[in-house]
């Protein structure tokens, strides 16, 4: 247990380093702040719907884009500057390095996605529901951060732009199939089946439960699904990073 704690402390050191170095990098600002901002504007402007109806999608989209903004570029950047080699020379396990990257993505996503969450305070949704929504948002940010470190694992490139491009190719379709723009109850069976494969679906559904009181899945299922996706993404990310190391170090 103490060994796990020791590795976790080292993950925190890696996360702190990532925050100092990568938060202000151009691609992170573009994909993590500007993109979601403009997408949000496109989502809001010209639609004659209330704030209450807008917020579930807005919270989901903001969390998804911001929490997946930092992760995909860290490992390619560190491969290129050879600092990945420096980290791997230290007594730090690969999972601790991946967890450090995940945590830095998580903090970035959580800080930004708190902004739309605060808007729910004006809707009087109740303290309990607000707290559940906050917990849901935190867990979802962990999940999306795990997806972001998974996106950095393949292809094992040392070009951050390649990694960003691949992650955008994954992220945009995910937003469109996750009930952000069209609620799940209006989708055909096939659409619902496809939406169930996206972790974002469950955060948006969770937010609809708590803000609009008309979620599609049970609230517990939303939580279980988000946690299951987190574990799955993290597991695959560590395995893929392990596999890609030889190529990255050559």
């Amino acid at each position: 247990m103490s060994r796990l704690m020791e590795q976790f402390k080292r993950s925190l050191a890696i996360a702190e380093k990532n925050m100092r170095i990568y938060y202000l990098k151009g691609p992170v600002i573009i994909f993590g702040l500007l993109f979601p901002l403009f997408l949000t504007l496109a989502f809001i402007i010209g639609r004659n719907i209330s704030l209450r109806e807008l917020l579930p999608g807005l919270i989901g989209m903001t969390a998804f884009f911001t929490a997946t903004a930092v992760g995909p570029s860290i490992v390619p950047w560190e491969t290129r500057s050879r600092t990945l080699e420096r980290l791997l020379c230290c007594p730090v396990t690969l999972w601790a390095i991946v967890l450090g990257d995940l945590l830095s993505s998580f903090v970035f996503g959580t800080i930004i996605s708190i902004i739309p969450l605060l808007l729910t305070l004006s809707l009087d949704i109740g303290t309990l529901d607000f707290t559940i929504l906050l917990i849901g948002l935190i867990v979802a940010n962990l999940c999306f951060s795990a997806l972001s470190v998974l996106l950095s694992a393949y292809p094992p490139t040392d070009v951050p732009a390649t990694s960003m491009m691949v992650s955008s190719l994954v992220k945009f379709p995910v937003v469109f199939i996750s009930g952000v723009f069209i609620p799940l109850e209006y989708l055909p069976q096939l659409g619902i089946a496809i939406a169930s494969l996206s972790p974002l679906t469950y955060l948006v559904d969770l937010a609809r439960h708590l803000i609009l009181k008309n979620g599609f899945y049970p609230l517990t299922l939303d939580f279980v699904a988000i946690i299951a996706f987190t574990v799955l993404f993290m597991f695959i990310a560590v395995k893929l990073h392990e596999k890609g190391l030889v190529k990255r170090l050559s």
Binding site: Q7, R10, R20, R82, C89, P91, V246, S250
Partner: protein
């Protein structure tokens, strides 16, 4: 570990390598190499580019996994207990890999935290290392603004922050100015005297000759020789030569009369006469000068240099000018 223990008392060794092998596709980069490095030794690792030096260091520092064989580093199996082994080593890689966006201070603190050095000791270590390597005044500047020498000194500070038992140095003085290279060499000697084991990979023969207790030469992924620099030179007595300068040019065919001469190579106005019996060759050359009314401007008996031995080991006779 048990297999290794059967063979020798591991307490005396900082590094034990047995049958270590690494393949990349069809290419065997490191081919069943075995050697030991004693505690407190400066062990040189020489080889031409692509011989397998960096791959070996990467396996010993836990960066890549070997396909076969095993290695104990600071008493721990690098495959089975990589964290414990890495906890006891420091690494200066071939290419500078400090975080250029961070300051020297932040780099040191980060690495110290990754080694789990307690906070109070970490700041004390970082401060004393930065002062020792002349970086204290620039500790808050981003590494991006550092010269190559300063970056290399910082890498050594980062490798020493955890007070390692074994220090791996991969080409530490490559491309450095004379002053920085000398400083790093002095520090290597100092840290070795303090009891640390040094594993030094270098292309600089003079550096290896001066610093190393023993040297391993690797070629095509295999160990070609391991011994002290002096023993390596002594084992290559056919590489000793008599260097002579006559006042006139001479026809090399006239030297065929001496059975002691292995070969002759002209170097500028000098002739290098390779022999296993230098005294007989000196007598022959003096006699030759008298017979041909030549003046000997200078004559010296030379031991083979480490570079000669290295070239012999990696290229055989091709290494010599015939």
């Amino acid at each position: 570990m048990d297999i290794l223990k059967k063979d020798k008392d591991l307490d005396d060794y900082a590094i034990v390598v047995q049958n270590l092998t690494k393949r990349y596709g069809d290419v065997t980069a490191v081919d069943h190499i075995s050697f030991e490095v004693k505690i407190g030794e400066i062990f040189g690792f020489l080889g031409p580019n692509g011989a397998g030096k960096t791959t070996t260091i990467r396996m010993l520092t836990g960066l890549i996994k070997p396909d076969e064989g095993r290695a104990l580093v600071a008493g721990f199996d690098i495959l089975k207990n990589p964290v414990e082994a890495k906890q006891r080593i420091g690494v200066v890689p071939e290419v500078s890999n400090a975080y250029i966006d961070l300051s020297a201070w932040k780099n040191l603190i980060l690495i110290g935290r990754l080694y789990g050095v307690p906070q109070s000791k970490l700041k004390e270590n970082a401060m004393s290392l930065l002062k020792e390597f002349g970086l204290y005044e620039v500790k808050d500047k981003a590494v991006r603004s550092f010269s190559k020498g300063m970056r290399q000194r910082l890498l050594l500070c980062m490798a020493l922050i955890n007070d390692p038992e074994v220090l791996f140095l991969d080409e530490p003085t490559s491309g450095l100015d004379v002053e920085s290279a000398r400083l790093l060499r002095d520090k290597v000697v100092q840290y070795n005297k303090e009891g640390r084991t040094i594993f030094l990979s270098t292309h600089n023969m003079e550096e290896a000759n001066q610093l190393c207790c023993r040297i391993a030469v690797i070629n095509h992924g295999k160990i070609a020789a391991i011994d002290s620099p002096e023993n390596l030179k002594a084992k290559s007595m056919e590489l000793q030569y008599v260097e002579v300068v006559f006042d006139k040019l001479v026809d090399l065919r006239n030297f065929s009369g001496s059975p002691d001469i292995i070969r002759i190579s002209p170097v500028g106005n000098r002739l290098r006469v390779y022999t296993a019996n230098p005294s007989a060759v000196v007598e022959f050359l003096v006699d030759f000068a008298k017979r041909n009314r030549l003046k000997i401007l200078s004559i010296n008996t030379m031991m083979p240099s480490l570079e000669d031995v290295f070239l012999k080991l990696i290229k055989g006779k091709e290494g010599f000018v015939k």
